[in-house]
């Protein structure tokens, strides 16, 4: 337990060890630890970014879906309106057509009626002529009685 040169020897040894540690041991280890810390931080940041991106994408998807729905609704509304229009138009057309047909039929009936009336009128004249000649027992001459016949035909 004597104090001797060992004291100085120990101090020198210590100094050399500290120098070596400071030069070749500590810096590379700390550097690697720093690097890893950076790596982990980067990884975490990337993960966070990914989550955010995913959220954004989801929001975008929802938006797109909404838009599509809106569009579909518009299209359906348009189609419905168009459909109603077409039906309305068809109805109008049909009504018009029906009216036209009815009018044509009316005209035809009218025509037929006047033709029949004309015919009847002629027939009645003939009949009257025959009847009157029977009554008179002689032929009624058309030339002689034209005026009278005309008067008769007009009164029918």
């Amino acid at each position: 337990m004597n104090i001797n040169l060992t004291l100085i020897g120990q101090s020198i040894t210590f100094a050399v060890f500290v120098w070596f540690c400071m030069k070749f041991v500590w810096p590379p280890i700390m550097q690697a630890l720093e690097e890893r810390k950076q790596k982990i931080a980067d990884g975490l940041a990337a993960a966070e970014r990914g989550v955010k991106d995913q959220e954004l994408a989801q929001a975008k998807a929802v938006e797109t879906l909404q838009e599509a729905k809106e569009q579909a609704r518009t299209i359906i509304t348009q189609a419905e309106r168009r459909h109603a229009e077409i039906v309305e138009q068809a109805k109008d057309d049909a009504k018009e057509e029906a009216a036209r047909i009815v009018a044509a039929a009316h005209a035809e009936v009218e025509q037929e009626a006047s033709r029949v009336r004309e015919e009847l009128r002629g027939k009645v004249v003939d009949l009257a002529l025959v009847a009157s000649s029977k009554i008179l027992e002689r032929e009624v001459s058309v030339e002689d009685h034209n005026a009278m016949l005309e008067k008769l035909s007009a009164s029918l």
Binding site: N4, T6, V25, A32
Partner: protein, 295 residues
């Protein structure tokens, strides 16, 4: 195991004597053959065992840490790297916690102190007779020496030379950084203007010697307490191991009891070994922090 040819007192003394190389009274150089001879050699002698074990253990520490540092990668660490990282991060946290200034030397020094002292302390757990007996046996085989006069103290930290060597180096750093950070005047002021402060010149001059005495004592107490704490703890631990080892010289029951005791003390001693290494490191950091900081 106490040798039959040794008395208990001789056995203990044998274990507490360093292998000392120095000059004999007759002028020749060589190893001391007894503790009295070692004491006669005075300051110009060296403890071969202390130097050998401390350098060997320091080299082991630096070898493994350097190997880990060289193959260091930022990816998943494994094995040695994991272990080294664990210690380095522990030291780094300690240094960041108590050292506020910026100095790239403090953390590596704390690491060196902690691991080196820990390894030196751990030598205490090697059964006390193994290495001394082996050395004595080798010496008698190779140099035909008497094993009873071949000394081998395995735990460097039970040699005050080792602990004072460390603490004086730390002390030198404390003085160096005190002067460097505060200037000679600032350092002198720190030693003379506290703890009694005064605004008037006369009082300042009156307080000066008192302050110098108080601050001087507290300054000098740092290396002394640092070294003696480590030395005292380890020396006491070693002493108890030696005393327990004496029991192996008794009968079977005593020897068995000694075995149990040795185991129990070793388990408890692991705590001391770790704690003392940690305390030495922490106090060094704190002292250096005080040297860097201004009042």
């Amino acid at each position: 195991m106490a040798d039959d040819s040794l008395t208990q007192a001789e056995y203990i003394r044998h274990h507490l004597t360093n292998m000392t190389f120095g000059q004999h009274p007759d002028g020749s150089w060589g190893l001391a053959h007894s503790s009295a001879e070692a004491a006669q050699m005075g300051f110009m002698a060296i403890h071969v065992d202390t130097m050998f074990w401390s350098v060997l253990l320091g080299a082991v520490f630096l070898f493994f840490f350097h190997r880990a540092a060289r193959s260091m990668s930022a990816d998943t660490p494994s094995g040695l790297q994991n272990f080294v990282e664990w210690i380095v991060e522990f030291i780094d946290t300690s240094v960041r916690g108590s050292f506020t200034a910026k100095n790239d030397m403090v953390a590596p020094m704390a690491l060196t102190l902690f691991v080196w002292i820990l390894l030196m302390n751990l030598m205490d757990l090697v059964p006390v007779d193994w290495i001394p007996h082996f050395t004595g046996w080798m010496a008698s085989l190779l140099f035909d020496a008497d094993p009873h006069h071949v000394y081998m103290k395995v735990v460097p930290t039970t040699d005050p030379n080792a602990t004072f060597g460390l603490s004086l180096a730390v002390f030198a750093l404390v003085i160096f950084y005190s002067i460097r950070m505060k200037g000679p005047a600032g350092f002198a002021a720190e030693l003379t203007m506290h703890p009694f402060e005064a605004n008037n010149v006369v009082l300042k001059i009156i307080f000066l010697p008192i302050n110098l005495f108080l601050e001087g004592v507290s300054l000098l107490a740092k290396p002394v307490s640092l070294a003696l704490r480590l030395f005292g703890n380890l020396y006491a631990g070693e002493m108890i191991f030696i005393l327990i080892a004496l029991m192996y010289g008794g009968n079977f029951i005593l020897a068995l009891f000694g075995g149990v005791l040795q185991w129990a003390w070793a388990v408890f001693h692991v705590l001391i070994v770790l704690l003392q290494a940690f305390i030495f490191m922490t106090l060094t950091i704190v002292y250096l922090d005080m040297a860097h900081s201004h009042h």
